[in-house]
Symmetry: C2
Subunit: 344 residues, 2 copies
Amino acid sequence: MNGGGTDVTLSLDALRTLARDTLLRVGLAPDHADAVTETMVAGERDGCASHGIYRLLVAASSIERGVVVPDAVPVVSEPARALVRVDGGGGFAQLAFARGLPGLVAKARDFGIAALALNNVVHFAALWPEVELLADQGLVALAFTPSHAWVAPAGGTRPVFGTNPIAFGWPRPGRAPFVFDFATSMVARGEIELHRRAGRPVPDDWGYDADGNPTTDAAAVLAGAMRTFGGHKGSALAAMVELIAGPLIGDMTSAESIAADGGRGGSPIGGELILAVDPAGFLGDAVAAELDRAEAMFASIEDQGARLPSSRRHAARARSLVEGVTIPRALYDDILAIGAGKAD
Amino acid sequence: MNGGGTDVTLSLDALRTLARDTLLRVGLAPDHADAVTETMVAGERDGCASHGIYRLLVAASSIERGVVVPDAVPVVSEPARALVRVDGGGGFAQLAFARGLPGLVAKARDFGIAALALNNVVHFAALWPEVELLADQGLVALAFTPSHAWVAPAGGTRPVFGTNPIAFGWPRPGRAPFVFDFATSMVARGEIELHRRAGRPVPDDWGYDADGNPTTDAAAVLAGAMRTFGGHKGSALAAMVELIAGPLIGDMTSAESIAADGGRGGSPIGGELILAVDPAGFLGDAVAAELDRAEAMFASIEDQGARLPSSRRHAARARSLVEGVTIPRALYDDILAIGAGKAD
């Protein structure tokens, strides 16, 4: 660790140890701590500060306030031949996903397509680690999850949807997969919170106040409703995420999740749906040739100076693997202080 | 038919006869004519004029110019246990879908999830009829198809993507299903063509001219590149549609489709991917209760005065079933003139 300035630089191994020790200190079971640590380290490594090691503060708060079951034991079942379900028992989503992953991969290869539902899990992370893991195994993957009801439908001003991300992964032989992961809200909720803390106004198309009026007051949007991205199209996608990662898998909508939270301000609790398709299912021996066709499309994007969705993350990753990561000293100190009262 | 004014009113049965007779007259095989007719009648019935009976002109042109194989015999296969493939043999997509539908439904019920790929088909229609048919059978459905390379990726100005629609269907017991179907381009290409014909400028965020500059000239956008909806998020979705309804199923990207067209100006040729999930797979006996949960979400949208995506179509449908449909006399006359030279 280099603690000389206002920032702290850590190797990825040191970051991993810091995260795991912190999570164990606040009482998270070791198998959960391992899974959660990998997700946070991946986020920080890839330059996603908002989904990186900062999330230790969020996770610790969820544990300390009883929002998450720290020693939940995920239970895997097979509700239909091409479906896997993991009941997360109220624990973090990461371990439930890890437990369901082998079955999802095996079924996708067996049947050509398969789906995994995580139920009764606490979400604090991005979805791209999940689809990237599947793409690393040569599968095409989609993931969806509702959150808390914070977002108004197009044509309305009252919250119904969560920020409802959609993530997609596509395998690229010899390269990091093509991956995207975005909220169907206009911006991430954390973006609005950053504006509020900084006392900065938000653009007037980000959301509504509690009376349904457009506003540039970040705090008013947080207390009112955010907008979806892309007008009625983004709103339709947000509704789809509610449906397929809520009722379709027997889990809560975003409205039910925030009602269940009961004002604790905890992370969303509910479900997640992950689809996996094996390219060999439709393509057989033609997989390599068809993946080349995809590469030609990627080239036609990059050749005109446009970026692929995952390119910024991958560049950050390449740097982090060599140089480690640098985090603000204030965050580092906050992390060291987590659970300090319990450490005695 | 009521031919008194500048419009012509037809019952849905009369419309069906008009469409079928026209398609047969230009040489489309009877089984194809039946399938194509149902799609066009459904569009006109639901108030989608641009995907209604007007498409007879488009379909007839595709037949007359040899873009479509008028008597193609779709071949159904099962590349993996939960996958169905239909090689459309260069015919219209509608019959290929009809041939693949029973297998897709059976597999979704058997395995919980299944996928259908249509290959080597000509597309001129919207995707919502496909997902609506699946939702009518109690399944959740998603459909995707590339088109011709007309749309620039976010951050670029040269065409890579098609208008690449995404359609979704969700069953609602006792009601018409929840369905959406939208292009991932900023607007439909037909919308820009309407502006060009009317000599009206388009908004400056719809596209670029052939030199990559933003323009309000509709003809310049048609010769240059359209934009995706929703910035980088819509662009990511457009890329996903290229991949999963192109290389993943062994079919063309939009760039390959327009290259294959070779300047004929024909409808896109290529693939389509349809996913189906049986709610009973994850839910078993709880399907009814979970669908109620979805109804609560729909109510929370409509209760604040916002519309569900399919509501306008369903209102038009209710009217059309009673009153028939009204089309411009000029269009009616154009349809009667189709293939007139061959009728002798």
